[in-house]
């Protein structure tokens, strides 16, 4: 980052490598409740893109419906956005990405949006390994419809009214791992140190990157008896690793004890730095280990956060479809109309 002195105010103005200030990544004013976890996520997304020197024009912001799905309006005004339908973010993103895979797509969704009405889309976008940063802002309730239980609420957790949830919870991370997701992480909206590098790695990831971000709903699910409140998360959050992100252009000089830090190569040469915590030995390249560590932590009553699984070697959907470098959207008439000769040849099948 460069810093220049503004002659009038004498305050240093920070700019990233493409000459943009952080405010160039801002969006409209948020209309969410004051203190909503989703607004924290918005800020971390701004930091992540700013820090990666990504031009907002090269990003498309996708979402479904819900308070969480409103967030694309609150970051990166210079990016196009698609605030779609309830549960349809994944499918809409699939079409948008295929039409123009040169853009980076970030999908914002909620636990209702992804794990109830959009569960089919969630599963199938993962199966296809669409290059997509898939953020589930998980508050355990339907915020926008005023606080009904969602499918990620824990069994026996309570609503504000005291009503108990009689049903099992769906765990976004174990589900994603089971579905073959190539990047699975969990974080907390209040944990910038963990979430920003996770978002940055997800942005650089080759396929679908699911981040389950616990994001408290201060209005409907921040009471005692909730397992998605700020206090509950703070008390139960256990970090699996310390994370850092190193851009491709940065020199890698980390001093660390032998074996305690792993550098994961992202496709563009950047690296995700994982500092393992002594008591938590976990291999992020093993689905089995990821499942085990998640099940164990849950049994211990912990909320485990961090990167659980990553695989940069699977083909993504764009590769499976054998698309050219050029985006499909940019092809014009002369590129698309068949030539007369090959068309005539096909006509002979019908005579």
């Amino acid at each position: 980052m460069d810093s220049k002195i503004d002659s009038k105010n004498e305050v240093p103005i920070l700019k990233n490598k493409i000459g943009l200030e952080k405010k160039d990544y801002a969006g409209g004013a948020s209309t969410l409740c004051t203190g909503c976890g989703h607004d924290q996520i918005t800020n971390h997304i701004i930091s992540a893109f700013y820090g990666l020197d990504i031009d907002p024009y090269d990003v498309a912001k996708m979402s479904g419906i819900g308070c969480s799905s409103k967030t694309p309006g609150y970051f990166m005004n210079k990016s196009f956005g698609f605030n779609s339908m309830h549960g349809r973010m994944a499918a809409v993103s699939t079409g948008a990405k295929i039409a123009n895979h040169r853009l980076t797509h970030i999908g914002m969704s909620g636990d209702g949006d992804s794990i109830s009405i959009g569960l089919g889309g969630f599963c199938h976008v993962i199966r296809r390994n669409l290059p997509l940063v898939y953020v589930v802002a998980n508050n355990g309730v339907y915020g926008l419809t005023k606080g009904q239980f969602s499918a990620t609420s824990y069994k026996d957790s309570t609503l504000k009214s005291g009503e108990k949830n009689p049903f099992e919870t769906i765990d976004i991370c174990t589900l994603a791992i089971d579905l073959g997701c190539t990047f699975v992480a969990r974080s907390f909206s209040g944990d910038a140190k963990q979430l920003v590098p996770l978002l940055q790695a997800a942005i650089k990831h080759h396929g679908t990157a699911v981040i389950d971000v616990i994001s408290p709903c201060v209005t409907f699910n921040n009471h005692d008896g909730s397992t998605k409140s700020f206090s509950w998360v703070k008390e139960h959050d256990v970090s699996l690793q310390e994370l850092g992100f190193i851009e491709a252009t940065e020199a890698v000089n980390v001093d660390y004890e032998e074996g305690s830090v792993e550098l994961i190569d992202m496709p563009d040469g950047s690296k995700l730095k994982i500092k393992k915590l002594v008591s938590r030995e976990h291999d992020v390249h093993s689905r089995l280990a990821a499942m085990k560590v998640l099940y164990e932590s849950k049994a211990n009553g912990e909320l485990l956060t961090g990167l659980f699984f990553i695989d940069e070697n699977q083909k993504n959907l764009i590769e499976v479809l054998e698309l050219p470098q050029q985006s499909l959207a940019s092809f014009q008439g002369m590129d698309l109309r068949p030539n007369d000769l090959s068309f005539k040849k096909i006509m002979t099948n019908f005579s």
Binding site: D55, P56, Y57, D58, A60, K61, M62, P72, G73, N77, K78, S79, F80, G81, F82, N83, S84, M85, G87, R88, A90, A91, V92, S93, T94, G95, A96, K97, I98, A99, N100, R102, L103, G120, G121, C123, H124, R128, L321, E322, L323, P324, S327, L328, A329, S330, F331, Q332, G333, D335, L336, R337, P338, D340, S342, F343, I346, M347, F350, S351
Partner: protein
Amino acid sequence: MSQVNDFVINIATVNGSGSQSANTILLKTLFRMGIPVGGKNVFPSNIQGLPTWFWVRASKKNYTGRRELADIVVAMNPQTLLSDSKLVKTGGVLLYNSDMRFDLGNLRKDILLVAVPIKQIVDSVAAQGKIKKLLANIIYVGVLADLLELDREILNSAIKDQFDGKESVVDVNQQALEKGLEYSKNYLKKENFPYRAEKQDEVNSQTKGKIMIDGNSAAALGLICGGATFSAWYPITPSSSLVENFSKYAALLRKTDDGKNKFAVVQAEDELASICMVLGAGWAGARSFTATSGPGLSLMQEAIGYAYYAEIPSVIWDVQRVGPSTGMPTRTAQADLLSSVFASHGDTKHPVLIPGTPGECFEFGQVCFDLAERLQTLIFVLSDLDIGMNLWMEDEFKISSKAYDRGKVLSEDELKKTTNYFRYQDVDGDGIPFRSLPGVKHPAAPYVVRGSGHNSKAQYTESGDEYLEVVDRLTVKWQTAKTLVPKPLIDQKKAKVSIVAYGSAESAITEARDLLRKEGIETNYMRIRSIPFSLEVEQFLSEGQRIYLIDLNKDAQMLGILKMELPQLGNQMISLRHYEGTPITADKISEFVIKNERG
């Protein structure tokens, strides 16, 4: 004297028995002999073991629509032998598999019975195993080849093409064909056979420059020529073969020099996803479509309203089938008209293109994207099973030379020269705003597309006035659409009686009008090809005295829409409805009109 180049053959078999190849060979042979033909497949929603019928109509008068009765019935299915025998016209022929050991002696005195011991003939062919089972079908083709005097050389070429030149398969089929012919020569009395096919020479050929094609293949080719780069779909009869053919032909026609695909097809998890993928791609600037049928259309509702309100170019190709719910998936209807025009909740109205032939499927496959992008909206194309899956004779397709109309899209350079660009503002007074595509690097370009209330600047709103500004513009756009959609086809004879039809009813019209003319009733004809109705539709209706409107649905859906859109004209029409799942016949139309005219 035999009836030449004018007969209907109905071949009754069991599905999954491989009769399709034999029937295609028969049809293609007649076609290549220069005789106009049509082929209609009546099949069950089932993979194996249920009755299926294939109707071949040869007609030097170009009447290729369905008829109630056949001149020749080939009865191969014991389950339906009895009812099939009733489908033979008086004076016609029942050619039946005599292995069935069924005493037909007293069944019908008014037709010619021709017994063919299929099994015995198959056994005389030196072939083994699975293939042998399939030969039963080619035997009846052999018998018919002798009786109808089909051209041997052409027949051989049709066999070769059918089996893709695979020598062993071609050989064994030719052998079986030969045995069928031989049997006929030795045991059947050709002089009693009332029908004959006569090859037309180059000059007289009625099929020169023509092709035999189904509407789904035609649509696939049209969509490719029309620049479709993306399709998402979920399999459903009778639309599946459309996207399957799109994939097949795009793989041949749409590669980059280094072998990459200039197209993408995704088989989605359901129709909710398929239409949403199409919207994502349409928003991003690709020409994209989905193909579906009734149940799929129902699932797509929410997204259809989104496309309308957020103004995303997109295409739904609906190959209609019969009934509410699952209905009868393998039968034809035009019953999705209302649920297309007014699809989705809230105030919506969508342009609908209605092809009447595979040729128009090819044409509309190209036109639909120009309209979707020009009008920035979702366009429906309503085909049906009769057009989509049956074989029609059409002029050979030629790719349109008209440049694509990509509509009002602002590039970076254009944006630099534009002040005050707002996504949903009507600048030209035609109700169509300008749009910008993701990836365009200009501060005015980006916007968040949303299905929630938005103003002309694409900002969220809950203001009534701002809401009105956008939706009232959509009404202006609807008016503009009237000037752009395909015009009706009109044959104005200044007669007192007019017939109005749309879609696949076309196949019965020429014959119906000829029948009426013979009865002294001259008719005008208009085939509606799109909604909203252009001025020509209004004018034709205002000039008519007694107007018969044909709907292939129960509740006269087109009549309903005409009454709504043209209230001053819609009330004078006499409604003829046909909705049992079969294509309408010329007889049904002419009898209905005669009855009404004569009182």
